[in-house]
Symmetry: D3
Subunit: 313 residues, 6 copies
């Protein structure tokens, strides 16, 4: 069955979908309706449910799975789903939440195994032990959390997907620039965003926690490294160096790093993070853009629209 | 005896002075000389020592105490000390380093006692215990460190002087705006700069530590609060709230706070810190400025020069 | 009777309300309607009036008082009033405009008396006479105008409320920092915003005057001080000093002050103004925010949302 | 006799010169010397006076006229005057200060006459009377003051030179864009910088007055217009409009205008001011630049260096 | 017949109009409608066409000419056209597209002739030949293209209208500042925006080309000058100088010029361009603004609203 | 023989050195001297030549080779060479300029061969032909020019060294992100900086050309691509795409790119350029920095100082 976001205007819908958001409203004439954001693995689409009742509001809430019949139509430059029928999934239909959310292409276990390989390559015992300790502490969440609530790697297992991709790029850089310290760089890549498992609320319908808002993933991670060092009784300069890599990985004070990178690997970590995030956004947008056309505007890329050359088959 | 910075041009010098900085150089004709920054409690002054030898370099190093004879003269808009005689202090003369460095006006023990009074006013046990714990851990350093290497409160016991002054202002604000939470605000004031005791190298001839450069006093303090909470087994939201106050007290990302203030007392803490630092700089500069004239330019105040009205007796 | 903004969704309305704004429009189907902003002392609420006629447009204009029956409902994250009946107030019902607009908590006469106390404390005759002269000239307006059209102290007598609160803070600062010149600071506080009585259109339904747009309250006040000095034949430097305090109180050129503060009291005036405005905004927003939640975003506070700690009872 | 700045390296000097600045200093070996900035109508040049005595310091002060013998040499990319003999002018030699300061090319009386022509073209009586009144009040100073202490039109009568040049450009613009109001634009041009006669200290050796620093020429002029209107009992909107033109002529808050231009002629006034100032700076720098080379860097032009094409004879 | 934008609310419409834009949509109740932007020489107006069919969509597309009956009404602060009848123009009615689009006031042939006069005044053969060559190559488009898609000179023949107006201003400046090189300045003015004929899609319903987006008119023109020089075998510095004028005419890197002006005429070209564009925008906005009122906000003028004085008849 | 920059303080010098810069000056006592910057392959060092004559000035000019005897001493935190003897190289000594300038580690022929390999991997004939054509046209210069006058790759063959390093990184990225178009990216990397061969004056003692200042290497290269396409009669979109890559490779308007990257490979090109330049600067600075210390400040890296961890052996 084709994913909901891959259907063209006029195509019929008969899909199980997950309610991602549900917002109540009234029309200008005063009749109540709901705006639903419905999703499956292919992404999400908006739909309006007219003349709603209290019963509707009770049934159709975020994280509910529904069966929807209808049709795709076009509204203000975007596809919408025109609902003709809707009902909650019956228990015996057995659809799982995980069947309906976008996720990394590779299984999370494979990603974790790839990540582990990089641990084996580390030579500095302090760095390796610290990194392994923190990985273990949050292993389950690291394997399922997204790397962000939107923009890039914002899907189930997006965090580990991002980290593994960065590690591969880090490895290539270490080969091209042998002065780079592999241990510091790999550990920096692995740790830099793990604070997200406390900054964000979970793998699905992700929002910011209070702690995420007030402290942020950078600060959270710096204190985690401190705590791990104490638990492992590690005292070398490695602790401070890894804290600095995490601290500075946004590259500039304006972007939330209280210190700019001041260690060679910290500078490179910032670039690796940036390249991987941007390639993720660019690929997603350009996949939907035919050759010879411009993509939709992407806010986190300075609101730029990218062109796909005609000869880029 | 008049302090070295209070002497006028032409006045004779016969003072014990502390060498704050000593820089070797050669004249354009190739003869070696040294530039000394010499200080006593009143502040510091520059002096040149001509035709220096290896022996001079051995004797006249930073933190050495010397007896200097000479005269004040004027050079490029500043006073200088023209050295006529110089020798190291003899042991039996018994001058202490502490006799020659500027310090807070009140004794540090008095300042600490004043600070303690604010602890007693706290009602929230978690906040009080956390604050007391950290205060105790670093008590000696808190009582002697400056608040900065230059600009404001950059003298012995400058840190506690700044904190006590801020606490008094905080108390006045709590009386005027009763919605402010006294416990949060007092604790925030006490803790906000304690990270300086690890960021800076000591009470005298202060410079930045490696950790100070790579992590900074804000991050250092946030991890200290975490550690204290663990040691005291405190788990309430107070821990995170105090971490946020420390984290955000510079007010903006560009100024080194990874999060802007998002709690009422955090916003006010930023203002109190600012006012107290600026009053300290303004008072110091305007004390030297006669009515009807402009002060020297102050770099941390956007390089402004301040006017002292003629009628401000 | 409960204020209109304190009613919950579903509660019935039968209130006298003041029309603050009235905007005509047509639905997408072409039928005319009006959007009304209705207010009482507790604040304001939006309402739609459907299928309106010329008669409606004639009756329901800004500053008209109406009696409205209806119900509170929820629309796009905000409460709205669903109008079931509406009619103009009858003369014999005797509701006054002043019964329906938010105002300072203390009566304006009390505020003026508090302000006068600070005049008595002044020692410099020139400063005192100048300040008193201008106060007298605009006394009525100073007692009723808001300090702004929105954001902070934007209610009847908001201007004097703001000034008196600032004076109290100024007094506390003078006690903590005795180098501050009380006369200059008090006069600066009293005068700094009086230009608003020409910049703004009035105490109710306040907008900007042409002169307010083209010259602004800062410039207006500087010329007023000039005029007052001429009328009182005062020639001392005090005139220029007070002009500078008014001129520089926004703190920076980008914020509309053609000169940055260059007098100690000018610098402090800027801080006092800021703290009092921010406390006013914060208190208003956090009063509506339950412990453990974030407030609505506040545009003039860099669009920040503030957190109210769970333990902040 | 050739002007001092037009002599080449190695050429002999025997000139009457005005001391513009005189700074005392000591060499690294402790012998006193003075740095003199000496000028005649062609501009200024630096000179060192070695082994100076108290007598020298008494004789060679700013605004003293001296007779200097010596030679031009080259030092760090600039010409200097090597002094071989120096003595104060004798009274009977009768050199005037005005013989030795750069000035506008046209006599100040001619410039004033040209300016007056524009007054005659004004049709609006209020605008004409206001402008004439202020012109009269400061006529002497307007005819001799520079327009700035450095950068552009920084010579005797530079202010009126600048204004007349702007009026001619204003006239050309009124012809090309007939919607421009001639009265407003001419008056705005004439008045915009007259505040300089109180902001600056005088026609020669010009510095900022206290009032110039604390209020600035823009604010000074706005209050002058107010005062003039009162004296002439003019009440129309013209007063406010002219105040707005003066207020906004720097174009942006960051550049010291508390309001951006909001009247058509105010916007154009800002451009005319800019073009005339820049042409003045460009012409001065490029006159010294041979075809095929770059000029010296000009700080007020974003530190740019301008190229003179080889074919620009 | 009065132009569509000059009719008041309530006035009847019976006009031939050009469809400038046509957007399909559905109401919240699901019935399809179209939003049309309709224009004649006086400007454009919005209209809604309710309950549309496929037939409507086929007939009413951009660049179609229609006859519309209806009435002007007011909606959200703007006039709209309420359509009562609409039909495509019949061939025999013979209305031309050019009858319904705004255009420069003077005929394009007159503008071209005026422009040619400036070519005759040029003395430098290289500059003249280069300019003439490029003018000829794109002559037709230069005579019909707008200078921009919106904001200023955004009408048929707007480009040449802008250039001719700038040339006149350039001439006035050359007379006032005789150091300006007429040849360089005139050629710079003529060439600076010709790249628009490749950056933009055409004279009507103008949008950006792919090349316009990826390279921009500045770069396009610089390569055109290179090509022209090669075709004419011109090798002098004039080529580079003209390229620099085009390159730098936006004045700053942030505004799309890879180099700031570094030639006297380049600096002035930037000012002339700015003044002419702003006068065009100001005149258009203020024509619609009665004396004593503020214009609509203009986004490219920092979103400012301009005041028209009451005495500006 | 040890390179001049690798000698310690006090070590004797007897080296052939190249004069990189020679500046004449006079001491404060009026005796002439010269400041020489002398270099060999290891880098450069400053030296003073006292009491110089016209003969000295004639002999010791930039690009002259000299034999110098003397000693290394320390002056203001930097090493200097104290000259005891100096004479011009005798012809028979046969030292070549190329023996005394720093250069890429690999021979330029090897670098060119490595670069050629990437041409072979290209599949798109248009892109390959265009790139090959331009490479050929400037082959000699590409093999010897530096990539910049200072900061990074500022040595002989620095340009091709930078390009080859970037190509290797580009290849690694194409493997990790298969959506990248290899042809576009490789061609973009090869072409992006070739404009430097016209922007800069040569391989040694490099400065900016007039054309380099007025047009810049970006614009120069865009017109070169245009010309190449015409000569090869290539008309596809590839021409514009490569022009866009060159145009946008500085990433932002503020940094001299008139267009931001709008093609996936353009975005990545900007990152590759940045990483390779920064690794070059970081490696050079950190090679001189012992573990546990901070490097000198690097201006093009926001003036940051980088820390080398103690455990980074």
């Amino acid at each position: 069955m084709k994913g909901i976001t891959t259907l063209g205007v006029g195509e019929a819908v008969d899909h199980f979908l997950l309610i991602k958001q549900a917002t109540k409203a009234v029309t200008t004439q005063g009749s109540p309706f709901m705006t639903l954001i419905l999703q499956d693995k292919s992404g999400d689409i908006e739909a309006k449910l007219w003349d709603t009742t209290d019963e509707h509001e009770r049934l159709y809430h975020p994280e509910a799975i529904v069966r929807v019949g209808g049709e795709i139509h076009h509204y203000r430059g975007k596809n919408q789903l025109r609902i003709k029928s809707i009902r909650p999934m019956k228990e015996e239909e057995g659809i799982q939440l995980s069947d309906l959310v976008p996720a990394a292409e590779k299984p999370k276990e494979v990603l974790m195994e790839e990540l582990q390989q990089f641990l084996f390559e580390m030579q500095n015992a302090n760095i390796q032990r610290l990194t392994r300790h923190i990985l273990k502490k949050y292993q389950t969440k690291i394997m399922t959390y997204p790397a962000a609530t939107k923009n890039h790697h914002d899907y189930v297992s997006g965090l580990i997907d991002h980290v593994v991709s960065m590690l591969k790029l880090g490895k290539a850089l270490c080969e091209l620039y042998p002065t780079l310290n592999r241990d510091i760089l790999y550990a920096g890549i692995i740790l830099h965003d793990i604070g997200k498992v406390r900054e964000l609320s979970g793998a699905i319908a992700t929002s910011y926690t209070v702690e995420g808002n007030l402290l942020g993933h950078i600060t959270i991670m710096v204190t985690e490294i401190d705590k791990a060092a104490e638990e492992l009784q590690i005292e070398g300069e490695e602790v401070m160096v890894l804290q600095h890599l995490v601290l500075s990985h946004h590259g500039k004070e304006e972007w939330g790093s209280p210190k700019k990178p001041m260690i060679r690997e910290a500078e490179i970590l910032h670039y690796i993070d940036n390249i991987d995030a941007k390639m993720n956004m660019l690929n997603r947008a350009l996949k939907k853009t035919p050759p010879g056309e411009f993509s939709e505007r992407m806010f986190p890329l300075d609101n730029r629209s990218f062109y796909r050359p005609t000869f880029d088959e």
